[in-house]
């Protein structure tokens, strides 16, 4: 963390954007630990309430990651504005959890209605890139408000393994997050580690964790992920031992360890190509040929 970043973090207010994995293909299957979606959702709801209890200036936003779409489920800043208006009309103000649950149910219904036929195997991944982009855009928007909350961060709770075809988009989002100094924390409730999220937390200075006991997810969330950025300077938090830096190739979207890199745009390929598919750079070097690419008319 640069000193500039830590200088801004002088207060323990946090603005968290939680990305929830609600991929039906993951939660529908019975996991080995018997951790159902119901339990998971309950843990997360209580966690949201706790964050909002820690400080009255805290803000929470929840985005749901589906298999093909993402949506905003809840935004504490928006609700507060209209809460007073609504309570006059309703006898019983709706609880936060109810709101979120209802929204989630709508989302799932819409998601199902949109896909008339089931998605092929390749498309069953969670839409991490889309939700990350949504979160970052939202953060940029609230930072421009007059009452900007300090220190926004992103917490990503993911179950389904990585989608190699989302590599480019996810890396772009990670670099934008690094640019805006928004740490990305990652909590993996699935069975496999996620290389993307490891890289994300490593690059942005967040925390990556895969709880060995997912039934106690709430405990992990409160211990590790509820800490605000200011307190992280003097709290000892579990750091991951290493980072999986594997990338996906741009041509087949496969995870690779060693590959070819275009010297112009740094795209990664798994085998030798004659020309780069991203920028069009020609890799054939003729004998005595031109060293510099002429702009193609």
């Amino acid at each position: 963390m640069s000193s500039a970043m830590s200088a801004a973090r002088s207060d323990d207010v946090s603005a968290v954007v939680i990305l929830l994995d609600v991929n039906p293909y993951f939660w529908g299957t019975k996991t080995s630990t018997g951790f159902t979606f119901e339990q998971f959702f309950q843990h997360v709801l209580v966690f949201i309430n706790c964050i909002l209890l820690l400080s009255h200036l805290n803000q929470v936003t929840v985005i749901a990651m589906g298999a093909s779409a993402c949506t905003f489920l809840y935004d504490s800043a928006a609700i507060d504005g209209t809460a007073s208006g609504r309570s006059k009309r309703d006898k019983q103000p709706e609880s936060r959890s109810t709101t979120i649950t209802q929204k989630l149910q709508e989302f799932v219904k819409k998601d199902e209605a949109a896909e008339t036929n089931l998605a092929p195997v390749e498309n069953q991944f969670s839409n991490l890139s889309g939700s990350l982009s949504m979160a970052l855009c939202y953060i940029q928007r609230i930072l421009r408000k007059p009452t900007a909350p300090p220190q926004p961060r992103i917490l990503c709770v993911q179950g389904f393994p990585d989608a190699p075809q989302q590599y480019i988009a996810v890396m772009n989002s990670i670099f934008s997050a690094q640019r805006c100094s928004v740490p990305i924390d990652a909590c993996i409730v699935g069975s496999q580690h996620s290389a993307f999220l490891q890289q994300a937390s490593h690059i942005t200075g967040g925390i990556y964790m895969k709880p060995p006991q997912p039934e106690g997810l709430f405990q992990y969330l409160m211990m590790v992920f509820a800490t605000d950025l200011y307190s992280r300077q003097f709290l000892q938090l579990p750091r991951s031992a290493g980072v999986d830096f594997r990338a996906s190739c741009f041509c087949h979207k496969r995870t690779i360890d060693m590959g070819f890199v275009c010297s112009v745009c740094l795209s990664i390929f798994c085998k030798h190509h004659k020309a780069c598919s991203t920028c069009g750079a020609n890799f054939n070097v003729k004998k005595g040929g031109q060293k510099r690419k002429q702009p193609s008319s």
Binding site: E38, L118, N123, P161, Q165, Q236, L237, P238, C279
Partner: protein, 607 residues
Amino acid sequence: MDPTVVTVQAKYLMNPKDQGVAGVLMVTARGLKFTPHNPSVSLEMMDVDFAVIKSHTVSKETPKMKKAFMKLSTEVEDRAYLFEFQNFQEREMCRDVVANALAKQKPSSSSSIQPPSSTTPSRPLTNSVQAASGKSVSGATDQLDLVGMERRLKLLQGDSALQKLHKQLVINGILSEHEFWAARKNVLDGEKAQGPKQQTGIRSAMLADVRPLTDGRTNKVTFNLTPEIIHQIFAEKPAVHRAFLMNVPSKMTELAFWTKYCRAEYLYRTKNAAAAAAEAADDEDLAVFTKEDDIVLSSSRRKIQRVDPTLDMAADSNDDYLSISGHGVVRDGMKESMEPTESTRKHSIVHGINRHAAVVLDGRPLDTELTDTATVAHAVARAQQMESAEAETDTEFQKRRMERVHQMTEMDDLKGPSSSSFVPLTIQDPRKYFDSTIPTGELTKTGAIPTPRSALEVVHGFKQQVSGLLISGFKDPLISPELSYKILADVTQTIVRRQHTMGTTTADRQNILDSFPHTTREEVMTHVATVNELLRHFWASYPLTSALLVQKVVRLKDAMSGIYKRIQESKEAAPSEIRHLFSQLLQPLVQALDAAFAHYDTESAKR
């Protein structure tokens, strides 16, 4: 009697292609003697003193090189002696004796050691060696002359770590001097190329110390002129220089010249314009000193002509305080007009400073010693000649001027579109790049990818769960206390364990060495340096081609075992809190040593 006497069979060769005259070569501390076997050959017994020998070179010992040469060069007309030995061992022995003798006798010689001038004798040596020996002596010959020793000593003095390593390895006899420095050839060459580190610059006193000593009692004024000051005077005042060249020693002595000059300076300083004018009228030569420096004037006129015509000087003409007398301020309602006569100098301090700055920026043209005024004068004249010769010719200058004028008067609107020198990024297929949901190939296997049949069931199951959310409500308690306590303990354990192995924060991890006590740190550094050096020589000796290498390897292996034991001991002796980190740091060293030992064992088992 000479204690070290080496007697070997050798052949004396006139040139490398020669068959050679066989004989016996005796090398003593005083000199060497060569006696041919066959006295009938024209060559008599040769007796060469070491005092005559300047340096010696040897041929490199490679598998290709069958002949062991040694060449001794003398100061006498580049006369060199070339000997061929029967094998390399004898050559080594002779070489050692010769080197010692040369080294011993060199401090007594009176040659001054200046790195730039002393490289010149060694360079023609290298050239002659290469020219004469051709293919027999390879380019990387070892010159153990005084210059080399000097450089090595300087290097050792400059770097204490290197000195320690040198002491440990070479003095203890593990490595020979030659091998140690062979690896550091590039460092030595770097030393050589540096030469004098800094040039002394021109003083910016601007002849302030030509201020005379005035004696209050007697009416005498003493000027003190050193050759440095004279050099500066000539550089800054070309008219004085010209006068000097013209008058001395033909018309007047140097003393007289400088007396006149100092007189003029003194009068100028005391601002005694009238007296100066009077004196100038009397003495022609004095007039030179009091008038303007016309050479400077002409050169400044030339420079003004070269000014960029596109510069707008009109705005500055009113700010020219120097030429307007009284600085433009009207006094007593009238403009003061003190017409300066031609004979007095109207240049002010500013002009003097500018002239001095121009001279300083030109650099110090002389490298020779400033001993005599005459030499100084001639040297400055030479430098000025060179300068004018280097100045660009008029035509080229005019061309550049026209180009600049064109550049300034161009209008951007009338220019056509310029072709950029770089290629802007164009992504040919943005969909392929950005769109992540349309893959084109196979996927990695994930844990649970259901078949299309069961996918339906999966989705149904999920939807049921979601719809049942509101109905079921929250579980109470959300999480059992035993489980949460267990998780708390586990996570704390993980944090503590990681802290123990990797350091508390990332900052600490990077400065592990600094967290050690000072002695331990030193130990670690010396161990690392020694082991690296030994391993380098060890691996360079393989494949073992000669007995010499075998001996060297044995020596190195013994030294390495010694170091190994020492490392183990220091690991035991380390204070307990850093023992783990300490042994972790030394682990790669130990592994490298183990690998070297294993290699040695396999190699010796093979032979």
